[in-house]
Symmetry: C2
Subunit: 161 residues, 2 copies
């Protein structure tokens, strides 16, 4: 019955700041921002109210049709901090497929130097220092998902919460 | 440079319990469990050690090739609780594409009655009551991602953390 993944929802503190971050990564807005205030949202998410700003992002031309549902809650307001570590229970990070990890990390450093720093040859740290900061963790993988290859080839990227 | 999404990593408390939960949803193990204890993992995730159990899950035949990287940390152990609410900052939930939301929710209730309860016509609550509980939030969407249709048509499903 489940055919495929559809989206991941990322709750952010400030939509405009977060969008700039994802655009620097190379994602594009596929559905522009809109503000919604609907009882259906409150019902769906069991919140007191359902007042949000939301847009959708995806890698340009991504075959999967998957997208990021980026949401800033206005009422109730976005709150809290993203998971502080990889061993924290929950949906811990999001990974992107790239054709060439080294080229991607190099390009991202050039494009977004202020947010990108390589800690070692396998791991890159992607941290948005602006305020409010961006809640997101992602990693880049050029492999087909094979664990044996994933870490040596992958550049794991994290943002501060 | 980013071609597509590759995976979402979900850190769980107990891998065997979590796998049963995802299999009840209809996902299948596409890479069997293995136990790893590698310095590269610790480096990549900036943890003291890198001792994990991990497997991959995906909807059968999903065109996206995306998968869930399900990880139980052994050392340091999995810890913490999943986000308690939709307005909590971070990667908040994961959504699946289904051909028919109503049929899917009905089938899931039959297949996994103990974990599935419908709260209203739009929202279904998916909660694994076993101990240790499962950290996951997901929603089902039959729409193409249009926000206008998503909530009325979608059944959002959450697990307890």
């Amino acid at each position: 019955m489940i055919e495929d993944f559809q989206h991941v929802c990322i709750t952010c503190r400030d939509l405009e700041t977060s969008v700039r971050f994802y655009e620097r990564l190379g994602l594009e807005v596929i559905e522009p921002v809109s503000e919604l205030n609907e009882e259906a949202i409150a019902r769906a998410f069991q919140t007191s109210t359902g007042h949000v700003k939301v847009l959708h992002l995806a890698p340009p031309g991504a075959p999967s049709k998957m997208f990021i549902d980026l949401v800033q809650w206005l009422e109730p307001a976005s709150t809290g901090e993203a998971y502080p570590a990889a061993n924290h229970i929950g949906i811990n990070h999001l990974a992107f497929r790239v054709s060439d990890v080294k080229a991607t990390t190099t390009a991202l450093r050039e494009r977004a130097a202020s947010v990108f720093s390589v800690r070692n040859r396998n791991v890159s740290d992607l941290c948005e220092p602006s305020s409010p900061p961006i809640p997101m963790e992602c990693s880049f993988n050029s492999s087909n998902g094979s664990r044996g290859k994933r870490l040596p080839d992958g550049a794991s990227c994290y943002t501060c919460s």
